[in-house]
Subunit: 201 residues, 8 copies
């Protein structure tokens, strides 16, 4: 099996709950993602995606993904997408660093391997370890009572793990954290994440 | 896909070149191996093998493999052999330690995954990185001139990497090591392995 | 004195209190042990025993002991069983690793040394340091109230050190641990052992 | 002083000596650079440049620079370009990582500070420490005699420090390195750089 | 630009609040400082100051500053004061150690650079990060109630960060520290500094 | 078995070869040893010995042994000499440190254990590992040619391992070391010991 | 000045308060000390003393001191007692280790230096740092109420620092420690010393 | 004994051999030293000296010594000069750091102690360890042949240890070092000191 064509599509996916705010005024209201479609000589197409959270969250940015995939993709044409370590080593030789750019291409190779073998990728990665997972929700930074209201609402819907976005004025942060736990059922958990918005003191 | 049957066969494979000797009088003249055949509900059979070098070479012994495989095998019946990490975790829970015993079963699962997907296992492990490999040969401990003769003979056949079994009387060992290099072509390599037969002094 | 004969007997010893359960569903209801009888040219016989707790508790399994003792035993014939370090070094040369297999043979040598010299082994190991020891009891994993009942019962019989087998559902584990201390007299001690059934969180 | 406009120009600068080759077949024949012009409200324009060596040399690639500068630039409008640490902290907040992208903008700020104060940037960076520097030259990977010829030629022109690009077939590399030193005058120096093309052995 | 003249003036500046006392009877009632005026060939003069706290507070003493500046100053005549790293390296070559002496000269160079470029020094050092700062006050060691009175008084004036000089009799120190916090508004902070007047016990 | 009587005898054993000299003028011409006889209630007597090399060689001195044994001995009366770890712990409780004093008593207990069991002590300590040992000889510090003559003489008698006592004037030491190796047969070994008579330089 | 004569006297000094008991049944009722008188050619005599606490408290024992001083003393005759480092180096060369034995001789040298110069030794050791010291008292192990009574009694006499000898039965030790603090005035301190009579658990 | 008066004299002592040059153009032609005379109430005077090698050699400079001694001296009046540790602690409290300034005062105290006791200071410091010392000579940086000539000349006079001042042009340094050893007798030693004039490469 050989890679014959690689196409990439930009897809902007607005957040259902509106702007996602964290400390230092950083905010995003959509995933600006890149969807990679990799087609083999056997007619199968594998799909991969890279969706950074704005430019500020990690050393990964949407425009960089769009710039980098076209640099790497031509080097993969003609190679067997099912040899994943071999593809990874090739990408590292022709393009140094930037794992977030390679991620969408790697994912598409896994998808091709799954489709070629007729197996879900989770089986090829070692097998499925369970049938369900707990729901987890990060709560965008807002006024404390708005955030408490959201925790209650999601808890109602079945979420049992919460992350509060804090990292602003310390007094307000204390209110944000204080409001949550009381309203949770015993086995639920709530943490606060300041995203570098706090100093050590 | 489910594992339905696991069978194991003892196969004693005598060494072509006779006894394989190393330091401290340790010696073996065959691989006393166990071949595992794992059959799935789809009728496919995967094969694995465990072949320890006598009882003395590593913490793996033939009789132990034969004793252990029947302890672990029943726990695997009914599980999907293609989920390799899941199978590994299950084996570690029901049977602590002894990786050499689990090795043959693990290999049979990989083989089933390969057959089920119609792919060589090397592709599923990350792809093939080359088309050929250098030939390497360990030379059983004997009189220095016997060993030198063997190095020459194998070199003739195409071997270019050699390991001499030393670890006996120091003077004889010096002769063993000294005889080899002169007869090798420039790019060949020769090392000596005392297998704990030397002290630090 | 020379070792002349080594015989080994499999002895399955059911637990008085029934199944012994620990975390992850691991359970055993007997010691499947191997008893080694080592007879010397002087007519004395020394005894040793190896009794692993199922296959899952440590890297020691009953079938492995039965497989390994016959591999090692022939090498000991003709050697002086009283030279314990010398016997140990010999066993390590002919058979790498697997100390649990060597344990029964080592114990039989100690027993022969004791019998040959007419001394209890504890004297040969450095002397007896006391006349009595505290009784210690591990409580198999069950419903919390069952376990509490057993602690009380054994305490009544004179046990003053307890280990509770936990490592299941956290809430149930909290009940298991909570029930015990209240019923113990001041100098008694109780610990809980999850046997890797808990994660760090 | 405030930043009013930021413009960026792509400039491809072919290498005078043709392709620049290093180990693993990596090669470039031009700097594909981005020139940033930053204009202040006082009418001054500062210039900066980012010129990665292909995609493979470091975790910096030309297309990424072109993608990233437009993401960061709008955040700088209206800020004082002369406060360099303050500009740096702002860039790090709105855009995580990727120092090579920020480099051209930072350089333009330094240039504006120099022009605004009428001083060469080297003075603002601590002063000039000398009046001349030694010439240094990297020699692209080629046949050993080609490389030796180039070393001689550059030495003639005044270069006294050389770096040979090696990292291919070991025997050829030995020839590459061996040829150089003999032809150099006493105070000249020559090093070899395999650019990860050699293994530890 | 070249340094043409360096003059230094001793200026004793009595403390508004009288003697400043710390542990072990150490006390000062003025800054005995040296003001350096550095004039360039362009007619500009930069100013620097070194004001040690008595002889006992750090390895810097007023008389030493007065002794050292005349040793270093002549070496700077004729050099460009704007090349600050270059000036620093020169001072380190002709005069080893004693950074407190070099400090006033360094400051004067920064001042000249600022005046020559028409920029406040804070811009040249990276930009201004804020428009205001919190007021901080060290309270000289006295009777506990005197110190508490001063904290209250300065708090009234707008100070919100306090340092109490302790390090005397432990019981008195406990009173000193105990009195403060109660009278502060929620966001204020108070620390105690024993200036090596306490032992580890 | 109980210890009933402990007697100790001083025995001065002059060295056959006369004074034994090492660096810094340190010298001894005899072992001034203490022989301990320990008699049990069964009528057996075990023997031990402590023979320090003068006062200067290690933190053990003859007069100290003679002073210490009578301090410890009374505490051992009535104890079982065969429980060696138990005897050791008792000696450490009643008498802190000074292992060289306890050594003769410990040795006598081992001897009693051997006699009581009818076994050579080497068997009780783990068995005999060989039938012969190489002869080793330290050569007292003298003029280089005297020392060389002794090496030759002892070599003739069968010694194959030598230690030269050096640590005097460096030039003489060089002569001492230089003279030896030439006269030795291939498998012999010679080392030099300065006994702290050399500095690091 | 030269050392001419060294004499040593054994002096047994019974404890005023009777037996001094610590953990593990260790007990002493006197200091069995050695007093050294060192006379110089100028007719001055310096005095030193070594008084170990039984044989069990540290690696120093009375009989060893009596045995060792006569071994070292002859080497000091004729040397200048005022050169203390020189005397120390000499003692270390002729007699390895055993600092407690050298202590009495060293002390006598200091005393001679003081007498020869007409100065108290504390001046020669760096000067006196105060005019008084706090009284400290170790309380021999007894029944808890006996010990509490002693603490009270010594406190009355002016002691303000106490050490309780514990290290027996834990419950009794808790009583010992509990009784003390309540009866002490605020600035007094009390610690407990088990002298290795407790295990880590 | 009490300190009554402290006087200090500046004494410039020109070097017999003219300028003393080291790397980086650093040079001195005299010791610009401070001589301290400390007089006690008993009429004795102790002398101390501080003589830094220019301003550049260590963090000690002549003018600083002259500035610092008057700051510290008044605090010593009335104290006993013989209590050297006590004097040292006092100096450290009233004056932080600058050990080179305290050195002359400390030396004067030692001298007073010696005079008061009628002993040479070396006796009070532990005794004299020998009767002679080897002569050592640093050779000021000059042309290689000049330096070689000086080594020869001093060797003639009895010097056997030499230090060459290097740290200039590497080729010249090589000549400097090369010239020396040949002309020295076997037991002499010669080292080179670049005084930070060389980089690691």
């Amino acid at each position: 099996m050989r890679i014959e064509t690689i196409r990439a599509y930009r897809v902007v996916q607005p957040f259902v709950g509106g702007a996602y705010n964290m400390s230092k005024g950083r905010s995003a209201d959509a995933f600006d993602s890149l969807i990679v479609g990799m087609t083999s000589n056997t007619g199968l197409t594998g799909w991969g995606e890279m969706a950074p959270l704005g430019n500020f969250y990690s050393a990964a940015f949407p425009a960089g993904t769009r710039a980098g995939v076209p640099e790497i993709a031509p080097h993969l044409i003609g190679h067997d997408p099912r040899g994943l370590a071999s593809i990874g080593r090739l990408m590292d030789t022709v393009f140094k660093g930037h794992p977030y750019i390679k991620s969408a291409l790697d994912m598409a190779c896994w998808d091709l391997l799954g489709k070629a073998t007729g197996l879900p990728v989770c089986v090829l990665m070692g097998g499925r370890f369970g049938e369900s997972i707990r729901l987890y929700r990060a709560i965008s930074q807002q006024a404390p009572d708005e955030m408490a209201k959201k925790v209650a609402q999601y808890h109602e819907q079945g979420y049992t793990r919460f992350q509060l976005k804090v990292g602003g004025d310390p007094d307000t942060d204390i209110e944000r954290i204080g409001a949550g736990p009381a309203m949770l059922r015993p086995t639920a958990r709530l943490v606060a994440d300041a995203n570098t918005g706090w100093t050590q003191h």
